[in-house]
């Protein structure tokens, strides 16, 4: 970026940020007065009772790892709070004596008697109730599913449970686990791409320690970039996305890395069928500073030289991940976290090479302005890039590079004025740098020139506030508003297209010029009515807008991602979603059940015209066609989180349609991920502390597909002729996977622990169609038949995991 451009951008961003902060203060002021005067349970104006805050952090007693979403319940007021993503909680109570219960699934409940006559700092370390997975005892008061909270369409995955799910080639994968939830559809067999409630693959915001991960896949999407050993928590929001997040229409996947063991050094790792992993963590300063370093590398390439096929032997093929994090507690009011992810896929042979990967870097500072006002400031750098090329020294030698880079800053505040009131607000701004393609010849003999698609820049900012309030005993309301602003920043040439999508004119904008601004208000609303202590009905509405999208017109996608932004030619995509649901915990919260129905309208839906040219195209925008899309359905989920048998059963009914004037002759067509019926069964049974059996079974209606309705002969080829898009379906998909875990016999004083994990993907060898094509009969040229391609038969794998 040039100096003057930088200066202009900084000035403009500062002005807009300053404006945001002013507006924020205004909102908080109003909120504050509202809280003080009107809200039920607030003694501010009418009783004069002084409230003191009980606050602190809730952590695991053995590792010091902060616990996200632990419940703090005060018997006397029959209300409480939950710990936030940093393990922090704050409750403001009048002077008095209270019984406070801290509960968290898989941990022994801690009960504290407190006498409050001033602010109280109460950090709580909770003991895991049993170290053996699957034998977790659950107590009646341990609330697994928060039926009372004004929050729906969100599922929290238990990382320990994810580890027991049978995985393809033994690679435990949180994205694959998310795909087993109702409402989440797989893009294609084996891939990590997913569609949430009928949305596109690029409508999911995937965050790793708050940094956007632009391509969460390794190796053509078969494996995700998330190394399970380094992950603490993952939640998926399928709707009702919190006001603090935005920029994608359909979902938020919030992945949090472990902070590192504050108590002692430990190492965990595994040797698997295709990769090995090692994680080391420990205190740098006991109880104050810790680190975690986690790595994974595949070694499929090590076996390639064994192949009898020379063209296989000469390949290099691997991927690796590195996660690193340091946390430090400066004092009771300040903590800092620095974390990073670095991953890369490499493929090379004598003929060509390709590599791609994500990098993220997050720095966070938690600061307590007061016992009731928690804040977090985050600085993020996130990058995705790839290159493909051929070796030097030939006429055809070239290198093609492309990248996407973000620099972000966020400030998030949580204010806990009252146990029944929580206010959250914040600002964020992201500077996007797009390098859609840069290709050039390499070496001396090349004939290729240097060509570059113009770089693009944009600033995406937001300000938000939300308020969660309980009233009339049974209602819990959360309402929020997010104002997002997207600005295209020069220098840039913007083309104007005529009604035949030919370039009619162009406008040139100088460096640092803010040449287009979009501003969108995104209201978010959720209301819960508690029917009983353990059941509720909920309703929500949310509006989301999306300014970045992926130039992709295949169903599953490749690593060759090109993101492009809203612009004078491309209006931001918008979605409105309403959902209602019934939630119930029963048998002392051993089981949880939820039923949700939703309807989602999306406008400015983008699709590419038939036979679009999306590679290295300066006029990419002219290939876009705009319309609308909608989806609706319902989802049922029954989960059991404790006892010998754990897991869930889910069913989804869903419909997803798109309608775009110039595609399919303007007739609505099935979205690529429209699979009406979807069943998942995920079960794990612990025979004993040493032996555990797990299985999952998935079924879904076949994906929509377009088949020919005629043939033509052109250029000596049988050319398929099509009538309508996505009118047929692939055969139904189903698959059973199993795994068996054998653990080391536990005894006191053992220095290290191990387990074997044997798994089989696709146990009954179902030949699920990955694609269907048409082939000419060999001895009968001109006679064509349908042929399916399937990727996996039965795939067994073995993993050995250790810990010391």
């Amino acid at each position: 970026m040039r100096k003057d451009q930088l200066r202009k951008v900084v000035e403009r961003s500062w002005r807009s940020t300053f404006g945001f902060i002013l507006l924020m203060i205004l909102i908080i002021g109003v909120e504050g007065r509202v809280l003080a005067a009107d809200l039920p349970g607030s003694e501010g104006a009418n009783s004069g009772a002084i409230r003191y805050a009980v606050k602190g952090y809730i952590s695991d007693a053995l590792t010091g790892e902060m616990l996200i979403g632990a419940t703090v319940y005060v018997d006397e007021i029959q209300s409480g709070a939950t710990s936030n993503v940093y393990g922090f909680y704050s409750l403001s109570l009048p002077e008095g004596t209270y019984t406070v219960r801290y509960t968290f699934v898989g941990y022994t409940t801690v009960v504290k008697k407190i006498t409050l006559s001033g602010g109280l700092n109460l950090n709580v370390a909770m003991e895991p109730s049993a170290t053996q997975l699957g034998t977790v005892e659950i107590k009646g008061e341990e609330i697994v599913q928060d039926v009372k909270r004004a929050e729906m369409s969100v599922v929290k995955m238990d990382i320990k449970q994810v580890r027991t799910i049978p995985a393809l080639m033994g690679e435990v994968d949180i994205i694959k686990a998310l795909q087993l939830l109702p409402g989440v559809q797989v893009a294609a067999e084996g891939t990590n791409g997913f569609s949430v409630r009928g949305g596109g693959l690029d409508q999911n915001l995937i965050l790793l320690d708050e940094a956007t991960v632009y391509n969460a896949s390794h190796f053509m999407g078969f494996f995700s970039v998330f190394n399970n050993d380094a992950i603490k928590d993952v939640q998926i929001y399928k709707g009702d996305i919190p006001a603090s997040s935005g920029g994608r229409l359909s979902s938020l996947v919030d992945v949090r890395m472990k902070d590192g063991n504050l108590k002692k050094f430990s190492a965990t790792g595994g040797i698997g069928t295709i990769s090995s992993r090692l994680t080391i963590e420990g205190p740098i300063l006991k109880d104050r500073t810790s680190f975690i370093l986690s790595g994974r590398r595949t070694y499929a390439d090590i076996f390639l030289p064994l192949s009898s096929d020379k063209s296989v032997r000469d390949n290099t093929l691997y991927f690796y991940d590195l996660n690193a994090k340091v946390q430090h507690e400066i004092n009771e009011h300040n903590r800092i976290f620095v974390s990073g992810y670095f991953g890369r896929d490499v493929f090379e042979n004598k003929f060509a090479n390709m590599n791609f990967g994500n990098q993220t870097f997050t720095t966070r500072w938690n600061h307590l302005f007061s016992d009731k006002l928690f804040s977090n400031f985050t600085g993020i750098i996130s990058k995705y890039d790839y290159s493909i090329g051929t070796p030097d020294g030939k006429a055809n030698s070239f290198l093609w590079e492309s990248s996407m880079k973000d620099y972000s800053f966020k400030g998030d505040f949580s204010w806990f004025p009252h146990p029944e009131n929580t206010v959250r607000f914040g600002v964020s701004t992201v500077w996007h740098e797009f390098n859609p393609g840069y290709v050039r010849g390499t070496g001396e003999s090349t004939v290729f020139k240097e060509l570059r698609l113009p770089l693009a820049h944009a600033l995406e900012s937001a300000i938000y506030a939300s308020h969660e309030v309980q009233f009339l005993g049974r209602f819990n309301l959360k309402y929020g508003l997010r104002l997002s602003v997207f600005q295209n920043v020069g220098k840039s040439t913007v083309y104007q297209y005529d009604n035949k999508y030919e370039v009619a004119d162009s406008s040139v904008y100088g460096s640092g010029d803010f040449y287009k601004t979009f501003m969108r208000l995104e209201p978010r609303l959720a209301l819960t009515y508690s029917l009983t202590e353990s059941s509720s009905v909920k309703a929500s509405y949310s509006r989301t807008s999306q300014y970045l999208q992926l130039a992709q017109n295949s169903t599953a996608g490749t690593p060759l991602d090109v993101w492009f932004s809203s612009s004078p030619n491309v209006k931001p995509q918008m979605a409105d979603q309403v959902a209602v649901g019934y939630f119930r915990n029963f048998s002392s919260s051993e089981y949880e059940f939820s039923a949700e129905a939703y309807y989602k309208w999306m406008s400015n839906t983008l699709d590419f015209k038939d036979n679009a040219d999306i590679f290295f195209n300066k006029y990419l925008e002219s290939e876009l066609r705009v319309g609308k899309s909608w989806s609706y359905g319902f989802e049922l989920l029954l989960r059991r989180n404790s006892g010998k048998l754990t897991g869930w059963v889910g069913y989804t009914f869903s419909v997803a349609r798109r309608q775009i004037d110039e595609i399919n002759e303007g007739v609505a067509y099935k979205a690529p991920y429209d699979k009406p019926h979807n069943i998942t069964v995920v079960a794990s049974y612990a025979f004993s502390p040493r032996y555990q059996f797990s299985a999952n079974w998935v079924y879904s209606t076949g994906a929509p597909v377009t088949f020919p309705t005629g043939r033509a002969i052109i250029g000596n080829e049988v050319v398929p002729v099509y009538t309508a898009r996505n009118e047929y379906r692939m055969p139904d998909y189903h698959r059973l996977d199993v795994s068996f875990i054998i653990k080391r016999k536990q005894h006191p004083n053992m220095k290290w622990d191990w387990e074997w994990n044997f798994s089989i993907y696709n146990l009954y060898g179902r030949k699920n169609a990955w694609s269907i094509g048409f082939v000419e009969e060999e001895d009968n040229p001109g006679v064509t038949y349908a042929e399916k391609t399937y990727l996996f038969g039965m795939v067994p794998s073995v993993t050995f995991n250790f810990k010391f």
Binding site: T709, R711, A712, E717, T723, K767, Y790
Partner: protein, 277 residues
Amino acid sequence: MSKLLNISLLFGLMLLFACTERIDLDLENGDTKLVVEAFLTDQPDGRIVHITKTAPYYASGLTPAVEGATVSIVSENGQWTLSEVKPGEYALPDNFTAVAGFKYRLNIQLKEAIGGYTDYTAVTKMQPAAVVDSVKLEYDPDAFKGSYKFLWYMQDPVDSNNYLIKAYRNGQPLTDSLSTWSAFEDRYFNGNYTNGLVVMWLFENRGIKINKGDTLKVETGVITKGFTEYVGFMQQQLAPQNPLFSPPPANVEGNISHGALGYFVIYPVVSNLTIYQ
């Protein structure tokens, strides 16, 4: 360039796992459409317009010919009526000449309406011919499990050009169908000397074997941008479908009016010979 890499790098990887199996699949029959294959050159052997109709997908053999149509080509330098030499095959008269820079219009008048119309038309523009210095054939044992490649030596003109390459061995076509042709634009090397740029791969595992002493002919045609795109999209649609790369299956729009399938192009061709050593 990108297309070649996609297929070689990524699809190759997928095929390490993939297996295929024949399945039964019922298909509906869509409306009949007119199909015009008018890939004409300035050479005497490139002067046939094929007019056919679409057929049900599983129908075997050739598609029905459209007989008895009145077919003509009109340009600034003349007007020619094509005569039906075989059912559905219409030949240009010998006195036809194609001049660089001229526009040519194809007019087709059908005896009976197909797709609701009896008259179809299309326009193309003749490009100046290429000047190719030489071509060479090399064997590369590493690429695609053993392949022959044609190297191409010529000065690419400064203005944008599109090329269509076809190859022959001892007078027999090596590229007898559209998906084996090589059509590309000079975007990445515009104005440069091509200096042995690989313009075509011939794969051993597709049964191609070239012996020492064989005479190879490379035809370089200069085509319109529209026809380059047409060939490219057709090749993409004809390639095996897979979820990673395949765009939604769709008919490729040509330049014939009223939504007829096919394309009308007249392009100049030059030939270069080489003997495989």
